[in-house]
Every structure is written in C-alpha cells, then in structure tokens.
C-alpha cells in the first residue's frame, strides 16, 4: 500500500501475530500439553534405562531422544497452532495425500522390527510410523468433505468420506494395525455424529463395526489372541497385562518411590504402551489421576470451545482431533487397567516414540489452531469488534 502520509510513522495494520496468538489460543490446553510432556520425560527417566541397558546404550539415551523429538513436536505444535483454519485445512488435505501414499507403500518398503506387524519405515537413525500421522490428516479431510457437503448444491461429501474411510481402514487392517483402524473408525463416526448423522444410521454403523470385529477375531490370530487374553478371567502374571496389573497394585496410592519400581525391568513395552504402569508403580495413583485429569481437561475444554464455533469445518475437524487424541489416551490407559483388550497404542506426549510425539504435536497444534478465539457473530463479538481490529476477516 502506498504511504498516504509522508513521514508518518509506519503502523502495522491489525494486531501483531504473537500477541494475538497468545490472546486467542487456548492457554489451558497448551499448559496441559506441556505438563504432559514434562511427565513423559520424568517417566522416561525411570522407564527407559532398562531398555537402554538391554540394547547396550547409555542409560539416558532414550530420554535424550525423547527431549529431541519432544522439542521438535512442541515447535511443530506452536507453528501449526498459528495457522488459520483454512491453512490447516489445506495442509491437512495435502498431508493426508502424502501420508496415505506412504501407508500404501508400507507392505513394500516398510519393516516390522520383528513385532509381527509392518508399520514402520526405517530411516536408520530413527523409524517413522506413518499411521500416526495419518490420523490427524484423515480427520481434517473428513471434516472438510462433510462440511463441504452441507453447502447448497454441494458434492456428496459424506459418501466420499465414507468410501475414503473404507479404503484407509482396509490398509490399516492389512498391516495389521487394529488399534489405529479402530481409532480412525471412531473419529470418523464421531465427526459424522456431530455433523448431524441420523441416529438410526449411526446404530447401523456400530453394528457393522462389531460384526467386522467378530470377523477379524475369526480371521486373524494376532487379533484373536489378544481378545482371548482379555476375556479370560484370571490374569496370567507372566503376560504384559499381568505385570502391569501387579505394578498398579504395588504402587497403591502414593507409589513405591522414585526409581524403586520393578515393572520396567520385566515389561518390554514399559516405555511405550505401558508407561502408565510405570507411573502407577513409582508415583502411585496420584500421578495417574493427574495424567487422566490433564487428558480430560484438554478434551473437555476443546469440545466446549468448539460448541460455540460457527464454522462447520472448524467444528467438525476440531471434534475429530479431540476424539483421536482423547480416545488414544483412553485406549492406552484402558488396556493397562484391563478395561480394553491389549493393543499397541501410545499415550500421547507421555510415551516414548518419535513418530507418536511429532504426530501428537501436529495434532494438538491443529486443535489449538481450530479452537482459537474467533468472532462468532455473537453480541459480545460484535461489540469488541473494534478491539480485535476490524481489518481482519476471519
């Protein structure tokens, strides 16, 4: 724009980026995520030295990696949270295409690390699990399709997203990764639910999911064994669940003390899938409740903020992201307390794992971007319009 007044001080139009970010961001959620990451580091200090010792690495090797990836994740989170919803949508859709391609190539280029499921790309210094990145991007594209379908003379977005869901779940089941596919199914279902699905249809979808679960139980030994282990009444103390249960019981209310826990020596996945057992054993129920409360605060606060959201895409995408984030935490902890069958699912921000951390950072960054305070056409918004800076069209 041409300077209209000669020699006049240059004044930025509108509010500077950082203060506006700080003012509009959900600071509670941000705080909770940072605390969760801190707890993750604290538990990593306890849970990962046995693994490092098994692999002949320095004791805090995995903690250092956790700090490195965590910093990357936090940077990604802050960066993504500054984006506008439209940008989030574009990045999400493009990201989905890229990640989905890499998921499709997994059977060819991926590795299973001897764990019975091909889920990883080995990059030498680290490995990437593309399905972790798939979840947030899938939520974005689903929300976009559904939001678009609500326009007048709109394309059939819901049908398209349903077919996309089938394809994505199909590829995840092929790996096989039933935990992630359950999560994808759940997030799609919730987005559809919030987008105004007929209740009858939702019931039918639930029925289909149960049926396909039964089919998977019959067809896949990997799946059947875990379900059987869950359904059997008594716990075999030599299974992971058995150790986790014992650890939670040993911990009691205040834990056995920092560094005194035993479960990390016997559980191979103590630093990832069963990190909550380590927390329960060393710090007791207190820390476990704190962790649960942090996840609950993030989920509930985000949902409440989304209730006031006028824009359909923002609301649907935000809801889907909350569901992916919250449900992953619930599944992880639900497995440890035997409410759910055993599944390889990390606890976001707490468990060790580069892919999980960075994907979590992107996910929460998107969520923060979508839950920022925006004028929603309410009376208060209109009255404070001047303070916000009328030049901005949101």
């Amino acid at each position: 724009m041409t300077e209209m007044v000669y020699g006049g001080a240059s004044i930025m139009a509108g509010e500077p980026v950082l203060p506006r970010w700080w003012r509009t961001i959900d600071r509670w959620t941000l705080c909770c995520v940072l605390i969760l990451f801190g707890i993750g580091l604290l538990l990593g200090l306890a849970a990962s030295p046995p693994l490092a010792a098994r692999n002949d690495l320095p004791a805090f090797y995995y903690v250092q990696r956790q700090i490195f990836f965590g910093s990357l994740a936090l940077c990604a989170m802050v960066g993504v949270s500054m984006l506008r919803p439209e940008t989030v949508r574009r990045v999400g859709v493009l990201g989905f295409i890229a990640v989905f391609l890499s998921v499709m190539l997994l059977p060819v280029l991926g590795t299973d690390f001897g764990k019975g499921a091909t889920r990883w790309y080995s990059l030498g210094f680290a490995s990437v699990q593309p399905s972790e990145f798939l979840k947030p991007f899938f939520v974005i594209i689903t929300a976009w399709l559904m939001a678009a379908s609500s326009e007048i003379n709109a394309p059939p977005g819901k049908a398209i997203s349903l077919s996309l869901l089938v394809v994505v779940v199909g590829f995840l089941v092929m790996q096989p990764d039933f935990g992630q596919s359950a999560l994808v199914l759940l997030s799609w279902g919730v987005i559809y639910f919030v987008a105004g699905a007929p209740i009858l249809l939702l019931g039918a979808v639930v029925g289909v999911v149960v049926l396909s679960g039964a089919v998977a139980y019959q067809a896949s030994q990997h799946f059947a064994r875990r379900i059987d282990g869950f359904l059997s009444a008594d716990i075999d103390p030599r299974t992971q669940i058995g150790y986790a249960t014992n650890a939670i019981q040993e911990g009691g209310f205040f834990g056995v003390g920092v560094g005194e826990g035993q479960v990390k020596w016997s559980l191979p996945d103590a630093h990832t899938d069963f990190i909550i057992a380590v927390a329960a054993e060393e710090y007791g129920l207190v820390l476990v409740l704190v962790i649960i409360a942090l996840f609950a605060i993030i989920a509930v606060r985000s949902l409440i903020r989304l209730m006031a959201e006028r824009d359909i895409f923002t609301r649907l995408a935000g809801t889907g992201l909350v569901v992916v984030f919250g449900a992953q935490a619930m599944i992880n902890m639900g497995v440890a307390v035997r409410l759910l069958p055993a599944k390889g699912m990390t606890l976001p921000f707490v468990s060790y794992g580069g892919s999980s951390l960075i994907a979590g950072g992107i996910l929460v960054g998107m969520l923060l971007a979508l839950t920022r305070n925006r004028p929603q056409g309410r009376m208060g918004d209109i009255l404070s319009q001047g303070r916000v800076g009328g030049g901005q069209v949101l």
């Binding site: 609500s150 103390p237 019981q249 009691g252 989920a299 209730m307 609301r315």
Partner: protein
C-alpha cells in the same frame, strides 16, 4: 418457517429498473441462507457435543476409578513361576519280601557358599579344606574370589561335618536340607537296587532320582505322591540273598573265578528270591560307569541279567524235553552216540567217547553232544526254534530292571542243520543266567511258562503250557540222575534231593574261535526235585579248581559244589523241611504237639 427465495422477483425487477446487477441479490440471499443454516447446524451440534463431552468425562472417570480400585487392592505374590519348580523330595522305601528295608531316605544337608556374604574367605577356605580332605584350599579360594554369588561345595554332609562347618562361623557358608537315599545293607542286592542320585537341585531341596536297577525302573512309582509313601515290595529275600552272596563270594575265590553270578527263582511264580552278580558295588557310593575297557568287567555290570553267554550243555535238557514232549523219544530210547559225528566238513565230539549208543537218559547223565545233536536233527530246526522261543530264550527277560531291556539273547541269524545241532547242546545261542533260570523253572514246574519278576507275588502265577506235566516229570527224573550218577555228583545235599544239569562252555575268543582253557561253568538245578519249589542257577566265569592234583575247569568240579553249598544253606531258610530217611533205629524220637 418462511423461506426467502434466492431471486425475489420484486427486487430483481426493481434492480433491473435501476440498472443494477440482479446477481448480487442472489448472492446476498444465498449468503443469508447459509448463515441461517450454519446457525441451525451449530445449535444441533451443540447438543451432540455435550453428549460427547459426557462420554469423555465418563470414560476418563471410569479409567480413573478402575485405577483407584486396582491401587487399593493388595498385590498378590506372583506364584506361577515358583509353584512349577517345586521339587518333590519324598521317595518311597524299597523293602524285601518280608518287609525288611532295602532302600530308604535319610535327612542330611548340602553345603553351599555365597561368597559375597563371606567375611574371611581365606580362613573359610583353609578350614573347609581341613574338614573335607577332598576339597583343596586353593580351589576353594578361587571359587570364592571369582565374583560368583553361589557355589555348591558338598552334596551330602554327615552331622559331624555339619557341626564343624557351623563352627567356622562364616555367614557365607550355608546349608540346604536334603534327603539322601540310603541302602542300609550295603552291597547286598546292589545290582537289583541299582542306585539313586540327585536330579534337579535347589537350595531348599533336591530331587532324588533312580540311576539304575529297580530304582530307575520304578522311578515314577517311587516318586508318585499318590502312593502315599507305600513301599515297593520286591521278591528278594534279604536273608537268602545274604547267605547266597556269602557262599558265592567264597566259591568264586576258591574256584579262582573272575566273576560269578547266581539266580534263585521260585518255579511257581517266577519271583527272583535272590540275584547275585560278583564283583559287586555299594549302591550308597555307586561308582561312575567305566570309560575304558569292557563294560562287562565293571562291578556295575549285572551278569545275571546283562551277561549273555553261551551256556553249553545246560541246553540239552531243553532238547530232550522237547523230544519227549512231541513223542519222538522216551528216556529209555537208545540213540547212536558214536563220536566224533561227522556232518559235512564239521565233526561233533564228546568230552570223551561214550561208546556206540546210549539211552536218552544216559545222554543227559553223561552229557553227550553227539546223542543230543542226533535227537535235535530229528526235531528239526523249525520246531526247535519255536520251542526255544516259547521258553523266552529269544527275547530280553521281562524282569523289572532297566538293564534287562538291553540284554537281548544272541540268536543265530541263519539256522542250518549245523546250528540246530550246536544249539541243541548250548553253543551258538547266548542267553543270560536269568533266562536260563526262567526256562528251567518252566521245564520242572509241571510245564507252564514262567516269567521272571522282581516284585513280590501273592501266589503261583500259572503261565501258558509249554510241555506236558508228564514230560516235566521225566525231565525231573533225568535231572535227578545227573546228580545221582552223572556229571553233577557233588550236588548231592543231605535231606534235599537236587536235580540239575551242568554246562561247561568254552569262552568265545574276541579274536575269533574259542579259548581252550577259559570256560563258563554253569549248574542249573532244582530242589526238591520230586516236587520242585526253587531253581538255582550258578555260573562261574573262568573257574579253575586247583584243589586237586590237576586243574579242573568243568562245571561238575567248579559250579556244582558252590551250588550245592548254597542249596544246603538256603533250603532251610526258605522253609523247606529236609527229607531224612534215618531208619527205624536212629535213636531219635519224633516230637509232636
């Protein structure tokens, strides 16, 4: 609800009149309609989002509650690993037929060290070396200082040794309770019992497992807790075993034999009353199996069961018994005994020429190879094989010893007429003394098959019929004549009529052929011969009787006197009444009550 049309005609027309673009009106109305739709959708979603919030709160609450519940329960001891590894240390006793203990358990202690708990390692090593001469001080010290956390030092301790180790006073020297197997009778019935050793060893107990003999054969039975400690009852009679072993050991020494074995069997039930193999060993300190030399020379070798030998003329009884049973001959039938008998390029000789012909009974009494061979030719190879097989001479004995399974008789693969003839007088077919005892029992007990057993039986065990009772009686008569006027004249025992048959077999030379001056001398006898109760087989390995002017090796001079002495001393112990014909004027008055 009223809907504004996207292109209201009134506004369009007025806009056209004013020259404005009517499309703007459509866009504006479209925007308005979107706004309303959005607000309606938001209101609808709000309710659904509240439901979602409720779901999240309930789910997280459920997980928290479950965590709290689990944290409040007491942890259980992890049990599964420890329970499976529990060691059952109880092992049942073994007793003889009269309930006398042959094997039992004794509580003892094992000694182990935990070097990281030790205070003065050099002193402990020095003191231990003084208590146990077999432990070397420098070895102990090395064990203690190698950084190990656990060292076994001694498997069994005597109470005195335990007290001495206590007196060292080192907290790193610890005791583990043990049960050890004890054989209070020492070498008696050593080969029958076998021995036991430690299996899995833990600090708190160790498993005692059988290593040989009945201990191994009945290992599962002896360790079965369901038996509630009921002892294993053997058919062995400890007293008879002791007497027979003493006599046999003396006889072996007197006859300069390398080894000796004796089997005493109940003819009705097949129970082995006594089984001796010399040289023997003490099962309490069972020696390790030899790593070099012939395992047959080891004291561990049970000659009565494992030793398969060509037993010689003993077999003539089987040939003649079969010939009588199938009606070929009677004891009075006369056969050609011209020696040597020529068969192709082979010649069959007798010990000395017994003349042109002998009766069947005399063939047995004088032990003529030629006469037996001629009768065997008449029987034929097939019938001979079938009969020997029926007597159990082709298969390992079914006796309850692990060693018995491997002791398969050596049977000729081809069976031409020459083999028929040699086998008829006990050459070319090797069997164990136990085989022989069982076969003789069958021949003399009335003709029913006897299977040897080491377990106490409740009464006679009647097997399948092999020969008729009449044949059995004729066989007994011939056996008696062998003692009365034949090769086994030294077998006569006052009061107990004995019948039997001798056998002297040249030992096969491992380099081929037979030794000239090394024999296996065997005497198989039954007593009392008129109604036999027991069969006794005595076998001496390389005996030489030097008591007379010239050395005698034949069974009549070696095995027979030893067997007679065993019979003389054992028969009263077995409860047999002597049959004394003292005549009317013997100066004794029969006491009756």
């Amino acid at each position: 609800m009223t809907r504004t049309p996207l292109r209201p005609l009134a506004r369009i027309l007025s806009a056209r009149v004013k020259g404005e673009n009517p499309d703007v009106i459509e866009v504006e109305n479209l925007h308005q309609r979107h706004e309303t739709m959005r607000d309606r959708a938001r209101q609808g979603s709000e309710g659904r989002l509240v439901v979602l919030v409720g779901c999240f709160v309930v789910a997280f609450g459920l997980i928290g509650a479950r965590m709290g519940l689990m944290a409040a329960t007491e942890p259980m001891e992890p049990t599964s690993a420890a329970m499976g590894a529990q060691i059952l240390a109880q092992r049942a006793d073994i007793v003889d037929r009269n309930g006398r203990v042959l094997a039992t358990n004794l509580v003892t202690s094992a000694l182990y060290a935990q070097p990281h708990l030790m205070i003065d390692k050099p002193r402990a090593a020095r003191s231990l070396a003084m208590i146990f001469p077999d432990l070397k001080e420098d070895w102990l010290l090395r064990q203690f200082s190698e950084g190990r956390k656990f060292v076994w030092l001694k498997r069994k301790l005597s109470p005195e040794q335990m007290q001495q180790v206590h007196d060292i006073g080192d907290p790193g020297l610890l005791f583990g309770p043990r049960e050890m197997r004890l054989y209070p009778n020492g070498t008696l019935a050593a080969h029958v019992l076998g021995g036991a050793g430690f299996g899995r060893e833990g600090v708190r107990s160790a498993e005692v497992i059988g290593t040989a003999g009945v201990e191994k054969y009945f290992d599962a039975f002896l360790r079965d807790p369901a038996q509630a400690g009921a002892p294993l009852e053997l058919s062995i009679d400890l007293t008879v075993q002791a007497v027979a072993q003493e006599v046999l050991a003396g006889g072996m020494q007197m006859m300069n034999a390398r080894a000796a074995t004796a089997v005493l069997m109940d003819v009705a039930s097949g129970e082995v009353i006594s089984m001796i193999s010399l040289p023997d060993f003490d099962p309490n300190t069972r020696p390790a199996p030899p790593t070099s030399g012939d395992p047959g020379d080891s004291p561990l070798f049970n000659r009565a069961v494992q030793g398969v030998y060509e037993l010689g003329s003993i077999f003539k009884i089987f040939t003649m018994g079969q010939a009588i049973d199938i009606g070929l001959v009677t004891p009075k039938t006369v056969v050609n005994t011209q020696s040597p008998m020529v068969w192709g390029k082979y010649k069959i000789r007798d010990y000395k020429n017994y003349g042109r012909e002998l009766s069947i009974e005399d063939v047995i009494v004088k032990s003529s190879n030629v006469g037996t061979a001629r009768v065997a030719l008449d029987i034929g190879a097939e019938r001979q094989q079938a009969f020997l097989k029926e007597l159990g001479l082709f298969e390992p004995t079914p006796v309850e010893l692990v060693e018995a399974r491997g002791a398969r008789p050596i049977v000729p693969r081809k069976w031409p007429d020459l083999t028929t003839m040699t086998v008829s007088y006990g050459h070319g077919l090797s069997a164990s003394p136990l085989h022989l005892a069982a076969a003789y029992s069958t021949m003399v007990n009335g003709g029913t098959k006897v299977a040897p057993t080491l377990l106490r039986q409740k009464g006679p065990v009647i097997g399948t019929r092999v020969i008729s009772p009449e044949t059995s009686a004729m066989v007994r008569g011939m056996m008696r004549q062998v003692v009365v006027r034949g090769t086994a004249s030294f077998a006569e025992v006052v009061g107990y009529p004995v019948g039997g048959k001798t056998g002297t077999a040249d030992k096969p030379d491992p380099r081929g052929g037979y030794f000239k001056d090394r024999v296996i001398a065997t005497f198989a006898s039954a007593f009392p011969i008129d109604a036999p109760r027991y069969v006794l087989v005595v076998t001496l390995d390389e005996p030489v009787n030097m008591l007379l002017s010239e050395p005698h090796r034949t069974a009549g001079w070696t095995a027979v006197p030893v067997a007679a002495e065993i019979t003389r001393r054992v028969a009263p112990l077995l409860g047999l009444r002597p049959q004394l014909d003292l005549g009317p004027d013997n100066g004794l008055t029969l006491a009756r009550n």
